[in-house]
């Protein structure tokens, strides 16, 4: 069939440079490039894989549970399986990229879930979101990929500014991880952990004091257990100390630096302190120059406890360290030697006016001798009527029998005088004796006589009173309204009233026209 037979027009010519390869191939190349780029970023986004061994997988969920560091999501648990011995749980975690530096030998992991322990309620957010894994980045340089999780979350993580201090205590009391630490009743830290010392004799409590309060912990600082209520009933009376309601409930540790001591730089981290049982113990200064003496009391030492204060003129100078008993083999007299330690300097008594280089011991002996010679004696006194606790008081008794101190004995014995209680007893006995000696019968007779006399006096007094009443009646009659005297009196008063009115008119006129005194009334002058 020839083409020309049919009226088919020719198409218009277009000049187009034909390319063998279509431009459309850019699209798959582009797709490949984008795909490869996504793949590469995905692979790069892949972080290290770690395993964490837990005691239990409670609250953990593969694919859901996150690993948080400082609240930042740094990984996810991808798988949870039992260990080969079925005792533990091994979780595989997929960490975020560039977290290799976090995974070192002393990095710690733990499960964070809602915990309510005494003072602290933590991890409330996990109630909604489920538990997550907390971590603390270690400082070691050794890389590690397999970790064992902590059983309990650490109270303080390394990022919190502050310092750790170690406290030695014979028993833990009510302390626990998270127990607050108070400084001037302000919560400044908490107990991080505790562990029994190797010898089993004491515990080391690791505490953390937050910055900036850690600067107030100096080598001189005292820590004491402020748990509960510190109540003591001593010769000094009832003492009640607490830190806060919270510390009463959950315990607490308080610290304070004695104001009297020298100003020291802040203590180094991990300095070891003693944890005292209470504030009083904590603040007992260390002995400076203790001197032991013996006081032999013949009166009862009931209520005198070890640690009871010894004072001189009301100033505490020492304390009782021992109370014992002895019987004199010759006189069979029972007495109680009480050992006391005097350390006035420790209790804040300062020595003034001492020449440098002087023999202080000799000076003290001389002073004590002098005081004894002036009648200073030791006496047992009741510190508190409530408790009956006794204390030793040195006071001046000028009437006391003369005594000297035998310095050759160690410890030296200081003279005593029977206590107030004994003296009181003697006084009461004397009073009773005097009461007994009173001539009570004679006094009674005299009294009766006096009463009879009084009766008579009262009878005559009644007669006098009757006479008095008559006089008063007469007077009454005189001043009655209708009596003559009354009418007269009324008239007289009216007269006086009128006179006074004319005088006032005159006075008024004179005030206005004082010249009328000389010139008379103007009308009259005309």
């Amino acid at each position: 069939m020839p083409d020309s037979d049919l009226p088919v027009p020719e198409s218009r010519r277009v000049s187009r440079k034909r390319t063998r390869l279509s431009l459309v191939w850019v699209i798959p190349i582009l797709a490949a490039v984008v795909g490869v780029w996504v793949a590469i970023t995905r692979i790069l986004a892949e972080g290290p894989t770690i395993t964490i061994t837990f005691q239990t997988a409670e609250g953990l969920e593969a694919g859901k549970t996150k690993i948080h560091y400082n609240g930042v999501d740094v990984g996810t648990l991808t798988a949870i399986r039992l260990s080969d011995d079925h005792l533990r749980v091994i979780a595989t975690g997929e960490m975020a990229p560039k977290t290799e530096g976090f995974l070192v030998d002393d990095t710690k992991f733990w499960v964070v879930s809602a915990r309510i322990s005494g003072a602290n309620v933590t991890g409330l957010g996990t109630l909604l979101s489920g538990a997550y894994i907390g971590m603390e980045i270690g400082e070691s340089k050794v890389k590690k990929r397999d970790f064992v999780a902590l059983d309990t979350p650490p109270v303080v993580t390394g990022e919190t500014p502050g310092r750790f201090f170690l406290l030695k205590t014979p028993n833990l009391g009510s302390l626990d991880a998270g127990t607050p630490i108070y400084f001037r009743r302000l919560q400044v830290g908490q107990v991080a952990s505790y562990e029994l010392d190797k010898d089993g004799q004491s515990l080391t409590v690791k505490t953390f004091v937050n910055a900036p309060y850690d600067q107030y912990v100096t080598p001189n600082t005292r820590f004491w257990d402020a748990s509960g209520i510190d109540m003591s009933l001593t010769a000094n009376g009832l003492t009640l100390r607490t830190q806060s309601v919270m510390s009463i409930l959950v315990g607490g540790i308080a610290f304070e630096t004695p104001a009297t001591g020298p100003l020291l730089p802040p203590a180094e981290a991990n300095t070891v302190f003693t944890l005292f049982s209470d504030r009083t113990t904590a603040f007992k200064l260390t002995a400076r120059d203790p001197q032991k003496f013996v006081l032999v009391f013949t009166d009862t030492v009931r209520g005198l406890s070890i640690g009871a204060p010894v004072d001189f003129h009301g100033i505490p100078v020492g304390e009782v360290v021992d109370v014992s008993a002895q019987i004199d083999a010759k006189t069979f007299q029972f007495s109680a030697p009480v050992t006391i330690v005097l350390d006035a300097m420790r209790l804040g008594v300062q020595v003034v006016g001492m020449e440098p280089g002087a023999d202080f011991a000799a000076l003290r002996r001389k002073m004590i001798d002098n005081l004894i010679a002036h009648g200073v004696r030791a006496q047992l006194r009741t510190g508190s009527l409530l408790t009956g606790a006794l204390f030793v008081a040195f006071d001046v008794f000028p009437d006391a029998p003369a005594a000297t101190v035998d310095w050759s004995r160690q410890p030296a014995e200081l003279p005593t005088i029977p206590g107030q209680l004994e003296a009181l007893e003697a006084n009461v006995a004397g009073i009773i004796k005097k009461v007994n000696e009173m001539p009570l019968k004679a006094i009674g007779d005299d009294l009766q006589k006096a009463i009879v006399e009084l009766d008579r006096t009262l009878v005559s007094a009644r007669g006098t009173l009757d006479a008095g009443r008559g006089t008063l009646d007469n007077a009454n009659r005189l001043v009655e309204p209708n009596s003559v005297l009354g009418v007269e009196l009324a008239n007289t008063l009216q007269e006086v009233s009128r006179t006074m009115r004319s005088v006032r008119v005159l006075a008024d006129y004179l005030e206005r026209h004082p010249e009328s005194l000389i010139r008379g009334k103007p009308g009259e002058a005309k």
């Binding site: 083409d3 027009p9 218009r12 010519r13 390869l21 459309v24 795909g35 909604l128």
Partner: protein
């Protein structure tokens, strides 16, 4: 109708797609413009096989991240969860929700892959000059062309969900990185279908074998 029937190309004519006018290319040229309506004239779609292959390759490349990367990220108070298409299918699979799961499985996984495979088959058979199963292949092409647009359902569902579920901070839904790839797969397969010239299926059967590839 026999495969050896007369076609415009065998006559050396070109049919205008714009106005239906038949015309002859200028001697020595394969292309031109319609003398009546100035539409571009070719015997077959220009570089059809090559372009279809290119689109198809791009679609196949995008198909991998579309299925590997998550398409939907659900952020709840409990945390964020990213799901790929397949995970979504598994997630939806429940005694009551399985029809929905099946829809997602068909619309999002099977249809795109079936399209890619079908087009690849058509292209290979055309390039090899196969003359068998012409009618089935033509039907296959029509099916692929018809079904292609429905694959976008998944993309729409995703974008709608992401736009509607923004209950910050309780819950929100964000499109995942796989979604653009998935949309690219759908668009690229549609482009591939569009650029394929079904007349090639029949050309091989014609006596004069012409290749424009």
């Amino acid at each position: 109708m026999s495969a050896a029937a007369l076609t415009a190309m065998q006559q050396g004519w070109q049919s205008c797609e714009g106005c239906g006018l038949l015309s002859r290319p200028v001697a020595g040229a394969h292309e031109g413009r319609c003398p009546r309506c100035d539409e571009e004239l070719t015997f077959r779609k220009r570089a059809s096989v090559q372009r279809t292959w290119a689109y198809l390759a791009a679609a196949a490349i995008c198909y991998v991240p579309a299925n590997v990367l998550p398409v939907l990220t659900t952020v709840t108070a409990g945390g964020r969860e990213s799901d790929t298409i397949l995970q979504g299918v598994v997630l939806l699979w429940s005694p009551t929700g399985w029809p929905l799961s099946l829809i997602v499985l068909f619309a999002s996984i099977m249809i795109p892959s079936a399209k890619i495979l079908a087009l690849a088959y058509l292209l290979i058979s055309v390039q090899r000059g196969s003359i068998e199963n012409n009618e089935q292949r033509a039907r296959l092409y029509r099916t692929v062309e018809f079904i292609g647009r429905w694959s976008m359902v998944d993309v729409f569902v995703d974008t709608f969900t992401a736009a509607l579920v923004q209950l910050q901070p309780l819950m929100s839904v964000e499109p995942g990185p796989g979604l653009p790839f998935f949309a690219a797969v759908v668009v690229l397969t549609m482009l591939a279908v569009e650029s394929f010239d079904p007349r090639f299926i029949w050309d091989a059967a014609s006596a004069n074998e012409v290749r424009y590839a």
